[in-house]
């Protein structure tokens, strides 16, 4: 069973359990006003969760998962979509689902397993009449609520890989640094190509999505990465982890590197492409990707670094994604040498 469906089933089960205990008679409705204006001080004001600490979603708050997710120091991510009553998502080919005004996308970052799990932060994307607004919330030590962290923050923690890091909660502008195209805030994750056909089918069946589009579920399932062909995995990984900046209109457009899934120019995705503004990020190498030579490829050099001015992505990571790096290494290694 795919993770997304599992989550959905789990959420329904939890919801039922909560009702069964009669601790919640009527699930409190989501606060649509909070989504549409202002900057609520605490996450609980939105009413996205029946039980925040347990991440138990409220009415019309649906969990989802991505085939290939963005890696953030190994954080566990709990993703939800909220749709106001009487609205639905609309598919746009294999690209980003179109959200109605009043919708929200909620993503909670957690570290630790089972009883040890700590919620660190929840990021919300709110679809308002004038566009999307991104806000970060930081969970308190008691795990009872999360408060607005406009200026971001840092927290020391240990990653699942066992590395002690200073984890950075992004500030509001840094949210936009990734979630922006042509200066406008947009969602990144929920693209049809990176969502399971099953989840999309369920949403369509419920009337929460107009149709399951052509091109859905194209991207490979990251969890199978050890046994899957490198090229589609690597391209999916680079699309999800890098292309929000590295595309025309993105934050790193001036580099000329375009790592989108749909980009088919070898030069644009970095093959035999010389650096422009890489500085010491080039690591003494001449090309973003030198086919057959991962150790002479700037792209991998920067993925494998955690040093400011060298490390890529520039924000949202304090340790190296060994699995992601291994897949990209395999992909470059398999390329025909020139």
């Amino acid at each position: 069973m795919r993770q997304g469906i599992g989550l959905l089933a789990l959420a329904c089960a939890s919801f039922g359990a909560a009702l069964g205990h009669a601790t919640v008679i009527d699930a409190p409705a989501v606060n649509d006003t909070a989504i549409l204006a202002g900057m609520p001080r605490s996450l609980s004001e939105y009413g996205f969760f029946i039980d925040g600490a347990r991440q138990m979603p409220g009415e019309r708050v649906t969990p989802y998962a991505l085939n290939t997710p963005l890696w953030s120091d190994g954080a566990e991510k709990l993703r939800f979509i909220y749709l106001p009553e009487g609205t639905r998502l609309e598919a746009d080919g294999d690209g980003l689902l179109q959200f109605p005004v009043g919708a929200a996308i909620i993503k909670t970052f957690a570290f630790g397993e089972g009883a040890e799990r700590r919620l660190i932060e929840t990021r919300v994307l709110l679809h308002r009449a004038d566009g999307w607004t991104a806000l970060p919330y930081r969970w308190n030590a008691e795990q009872t609520d999360a408060t607005l962290a406009l200026a971001g923050g840092r927290i020391d923690l240990v990653t699942p890989a066992g590395e002690a890091i200073s984890y950075a909660i992004p500030n509001k502008n840094q949210c936009k640094a990734c979630h922006s195209k042509d200066g406008v805030v947009i969602p990144i994750g929920p693209k049809s190509r990176n969502l399971s056909a099953e989840w999309l089918g369920q949403m369509a069946q419920r009337g929460a999505l107009d149709t399951v589009p052509q091109g859905a579920d194209l991207m490979p399932e990251w969890n199978d990465h050890a046994a899957s062909p490198a090229a589609p995995l690597a391209r999916a990984y680079l699309d999800v982890n890098c292309a929000h900046c590295h595309q025309p209109g993105g934050g790193a457009s001036n580099s000329g590197l375009d790592l989108r899934w749909e980009q088919d120019s070898a030069h644009a995705i970095g093959i035999m492409k010389r650096p422009v503004a890489a500085g010491r990020g080039a690591g003494g190498h001449d090309f973003s990707i030198l086919p057959g030579a991962p150790d002479k490829s700037i792209l991998l050099y920067r993925m494998d670094s955690v040093e400011g001015g060298i490390a890529m992505p520039e924000i949202g990571k304090a340790s190296v994604d060994r699995e992601g790096s291994a897949v990209v290494r395999r992909w470059i290694m398999e390329m025909q040498q020139r």
């Binding site: 200026a151 923050g153 950075a168 936009k176 200066g183 010389r274 422009v276 001015g309 924000i315």
Partner: protein, 401 residues
């Protein structure tokens, strides 16, 4: 009638009335207070930094139009990034009509101040310094406007950048003036940009002084219409400390003013001395490329009247010593690679009688080993082309008052 006038007056003054001043002092939680102010500012607001040292562990960013960020002076208000842990630059600006003035940025891990897609930006009395001097571990660019229309850099200072001190890329309507660039790989670099004026700067102790480049494979190409006048470009003899792989890593130590590709660059009334590889260098893009939109040749680069010494006495070229001997111990001041687009489009024009030399290469991308050095023979320049409207607009100038 009265009411109409009142309404008109209200309309005219609406913005100034709304503008607020937010004062931020250094000290406890200064980084959070400052970043919050940068986020919550309204268009037209001014954020005023107190004198002192702001210790910052993360990059700052500004995404609100029309904001002024002002310190107490480049020696007094210091944004200290020595212990920076994240972000690609010290300060990132992504909004239009921003004014940055009277503060310093020290030791950012990546670039100093980057403004991207930030039209009509002013940098005034801004200092970016890597305090350890020229080191390969320093960040790439000090002052770094890119993909912007309308850039004014004035009375600013950058030292220690491992790429370019003041770098303007993929932009237009640019003025860089009255500024100091020392101890960088490139002092001032105008790259893939148009309608730029570089004037009255002091550019010394860099690897190369002033570079005007146009590179392939970028969203914005076709650099040109650049005016380089009244600069002091002296003693640029710092060994190249750029990390290998970058285009400036190929700039020889001792380069004064260098043009690579571009159309119409006018170089006049500069004082250029003690640049021991080449006071002036005009070349085509040196590497192989695959980009049909790109023109690798310089077109109509004019080296007019300049005050220049006898030339280069310690060139950093392979075979430089032999070359020097062949020219009697001194390479004449202008160096050209001998390449041009076609015979109708001269790469270089100079004042008749100005001594120079050519590598006499015959094709773009050719190895220097195949050079056949000889004296320079290029046409004389004529009337300047129309340069109306180049440089930053008067509106940007007006903000300095």
């Amino acid at each position: 009638m009265k009411r109409l006038v009142l309404a008109a007056a209200l309309l005219c003054t609406a913005t100034p009335i709304a503008a607020e001043i937010h004062k931020i002092a250094p000290g406890d939680e200064a980084a959070t207070r400052l970043q919050e102010a940068l986020i919550l500012a309204a268009p037209g607001d001014e954020i005023v930094l107190g004198a002192g040292r702001f210790v910052l562990t993360d990059g700052l960013s500004l995404d609100v139009d029309g904001v002024t960020l002002r310190g107490a002076g480049p020696a007094l208000t210091i944004l200290d990034f020595t212990t920076q842990q994240g972000a690609g630059e010290g300060l990132l600006v992504t909004s239009d009509n921003v004014t940055l003035r009277d503060f310093a940025v020290e030791n950012p891990k990546g670039d100093g101040i980057k403004s991207k897609g930030a039209d009509n930006i002013v940098y005034y009395r801004v200092r970016v310094t890597w305090t350890g001097g020229p080191l390969a571990t320093n960040g790439a660019y000090g002052i770094y406007p890119v993909e912007s229309t309308g850039v004014l850099v004035s009375h600013s200072e950058v030292s220690g950048a491992s790429d370019a001190g003041i770098y303007v890329g993929q932009s237009s309507k640019i003025t860089v003036r009255n500024s100091i660039a020392t101890d960088n790989v490139a002092g001032i670099e105008i790259e893939n940009s148009r309608d730029a004026i570089v004037t009255q700067n002091y550019v010394t102790r860099n690897t190369g002084g002033i570079l005007v480049f146009d590179l392939p494979g970028l969203p914005v190409m076709g650099g040109g219409n650049v005016l380089i006048t009244n600069n002091l470009v002296a003693g640029n003899n710092t060994p190249n400390f750029a990390p290998p792989g970058n285009i400036v890593a190929g700039v020889p130590r001792g380069t004064g003013i260098m043009v690579m590709a571009n159309e119409q660059v006018w170089i006049e009334d500069n004082v250029v001395f003690d640049n021991p590889t080449a006071p002036f260098m005009v070349v085509s893009y040196t590497q192989a490329y695959d980009d049909a939109r790109y023109n690798p040749f310089p077109r109509e680069v004019v080296i007019a009247n300049n005050v220049v010494d006898a030339g280069a006495d310690d060139p950093e070229f392979p075979g430089g010593a032999a070359l020097l001997a062949a020219f009697g111990g001194m390479l004449p001041p202008i160096m050209w690679d001998g390449l041009q687009q076609d015979s109708q489009t001269p790469a270089l024009l100079t004042k008749p009688g100005t001594p120079g030399w050519s590598l006499n290469l015959s094709r773009q991308g050719q190895s220097l080993a195949e050079a056949q050095p000889g004296p320079l023979d290029v046409p004389a320049y004529g009337q300047p082309w129309a340069m109306d409207g180049i440089g930053a607009s008067a509106e940007l100038e007006a903000r300095l008052k």
